[in-house]
Amino acid sequence: MQTIQKHEAPDSSVPSLDIDPFSDDFLTNPYPYHERMRDAGELVWLESYGIWASARHEAVRAGLNDWQNFISSAGVGLANFRTEKPFRPPSLILEADPPQHTRSRTVLARILSPRAMQQVREDFQKEAELLVDRLVQQGDIDAVKELGEVYPLKVFPDAVGLTEKGRENLLLYGNMVFNAFGPRNHIFQEAVERYEPVREWVMNQCRREELRPGGFGDQIYQAADAGEISYDEAPMLVRSFLSAGVDTTVNGIGNALFSLAGHPDQYAKLVARPELARPAFEEGLRYESAVQTFFRTVNRSVEFCGLPLRENDKVLFFLAAANRDPRQWPNPDVFDIERKPVGHMAFGSGIHGCVGQAVARLEGELILTALAKRAKRIEFTGEPVRRLNNTLRAFDSLPMRLIPH
């Protein structure tokens, strides 16, 4: 009986919508649905899964910053780890609460800090310039397969200290992990099937002997040497690099290129002032957020947005909808690289705010700078093709022409 009750709204006065946020239709074009949810209330009930949905900026921000009431250790996907078996051993940072989370995060935050980025910046810049040089010469490219995927798969695993061979397996891993935050729908099933053959390879990369001494991965093991974390925890934290560090930036870059190609006036601004690369990437994250959603679980009964939430209720926070909430942003559907969208939710917020955000910004800035300096225009040469994912806003293909200066 309890299971059934859990899937019903606490009372009939709650704003309730018949929307499936993991349907092909929703994932293909989420924005009209986002608007419906925002307009229906601060917090709405989704009948499809018996979950709460939060789509306004203020509520998303408030919920994500209240880690005591909205916990992560019961999973940040649809599944509730208190009542269901997790699909993989839970992450020690993403799917954890303090004090475990604090211990993991302290180590990762140091390894990925702005200071650490200064150390890798030169290498990352060199690779961005080499790649964009080659692609501008080529002219017609697939901006996903030949740029968006290639660059993060080069620089980030280099910095982590992985071997060159087999890195494309990380795309299948990331795709599967981010799909697993949704229901067991056809998108998830297909992702699991594609991941299964590379599972062993991925898990093997987390071992210390596979990691270049001094790289980000090895630095996790050094933290274990220093007693900050245990040796059992170290490979699990390397796993977090591999799951969260690639498909996110791949799509962050893909979405930024899509937005710039679709707004030639904005790309022209970037060409005139390449120092806008960093704010342009930031606006791309707001406008087309690579990570669209994350769940939390209600720890114990609490009132939120004036509504009674019960222990174990699941709440789906729509980062992407918050990023286009007109209550927060003037002209939210306008892509403006000079906007300075401080406070967007694309990296989440609060203690679980993306620990790798300095890496993501560095990659985005360097690619857009290199492009602006080499291509005077970028134009679509075919229809962009989306790749549906339960959590990510992703592309399969972005046919594009880069026109040199």
């Binding site: 200071r115 401080v342 406070g343 990296f347 917020s349 620990v355 955000q357």
Partner: protein, 106 residues
């Protein structure tokens, strides 16, 4: 309400009246004040809202927690005794705070 005075490198002063609970970073962003970037939005993840709090006001805030101390190691401008991240400094009702802006944030 509370009052925050920002003094830039050239000695220029901007005084903002903001509701209690607002952070020194958020107040600057809301009012388009140059000199504070606040890139990460207030998660103590980027060290681009670095300020020097006036020594008469520094005791009005709780000392920095571990994440802020870690991030203060990453500031672009020199670190001083009074260095703080503006995103971690929420003003209280009636506060009058003076902060100085560093020469750079990135």
């Amino acid at each position: 309400m509370a009052t925050i005075k920002y003094i830039d490198q050239a000695g220029g002063e901007t005084v903002l009246a903001v509701p209690a609970g607002t952070s020194v970073m958020q107040a600057a962003i809301n009012n388009g004040l140059p000199g504070i970037v606040g890139e990460c939005g207030g998660s103590a993840m980027c060290a681009t809202c670095h300020v020097y709090v006036d020594e008469h006001d520094i005791h009005k805030f709780e000392p920095p927690g571990a994440p802020e101390r870690e991030m203060l190691e990453c500031t672009s401008a020199p670190l001083r005794e009074t260095s703080r991240l503006g995103c971690q400094l929420a003003v209280r009702e009636g506060d009058m705070i003076t902060v100085r802006l560093p020469e750079s944030q990135q």
